[in-house]
């Protein structure tokens, strides 16, 4: 495979990440910012998972190499390739990044909920969700900033 194809995955993930970053910076609306942050986070996860992929590999759930399924998988592999990398039998992708991202996704939605809850309270206190307007209101009445409902 060519150099570009080898790295296209990373480049695409970086583009997604920057899409999230652009949404976070460009949008004044707090909820839209949270959506951007969620996209950014998801694409970070995608990057980790792309690093974990092994060509010709399969999911890191052990299967019996002697079973019909295992033999079918092993038959797809290039034997020279397997031998060159010191692998034996069925090739599995790297499980460790999967673990990291699995928990990160659930933690991500919880923290997203916290951010949204704060946004809801800001809206209740200031009557707006636009970061600029909130900052302007803060500057006008410095005393009332901490006094939420």
């Amino acid at each position: 495979m060519s150099f570009l194809l080898d790295h296209l995955n990373y480049v695409a993930v970086v583009v997604l990440m920057m899409g999230g970053l652009f949404i976070v910076f460009s949008s004044g609306n707090l909820i839209k910012r949270m959506v951007g942050l969620a996209i950014f986070q998801t694409s970070t996860g995608l990057f980790y998972i792309s690093l974990a992929k092994v060509s010709g590999g399969t999911a890191p759930i052990m299967i019996n190499a002697a079973s019909k399924e295992g033999q079918a998988l092993a038959a797809e592999l290039d034997l020279a390739y397997v031998a060159a990398h010191g692998l034996d039998g069925v090739v599995y992708s790297n499980p460790l990044p999967h673990v990291l991202i699995l928990t990160a996704i659930v933690v991500g939605v919880s923290t997203l909920a916290v951010g949204l809850a704060i946004a809801v309270r800001l809206r209740e206190a200031y009557g707006t969700l636009e970061a600029d307007e909130i900052a302007a209101l803060d500057r006008e009445t410095p005393k009332s900033t901490g006094a939420g409902p």
Binding site: T58, A59, I61, I63, E69, A72, L73, E76
Partner: protein, 102 residues
Amino acid sequence: MLLLAAAAGLMIAMAMMIVRAILGPSHYDRILAANSFGAKTVLLIAVIGFVFGRPAFLDIAISYALINFVTTIALMKFFRYRSLEAPLTPPEPRGIGEAGGD
């Protein structure tokens, strides 16, 4: 090879759904597109499992089929009633009192 063609066809259909979800024009069109997209995703995951020799991952497809429904109901309820907490009551009773409730 046939299954690979099937996966390609499903992805084309999914791309069409994305176009509909982006274009709208009404929110109901978008929900429809998202829901239909979910149904195609279920099929695609099943097919991909067979293409790559690990068909045991159908659990994911099953959970999609279920979750997709819940999300569609939530979106529908949001657009229709502007509320997530309201119950979807049965239609006005026509002489049969509370029958058909729970």
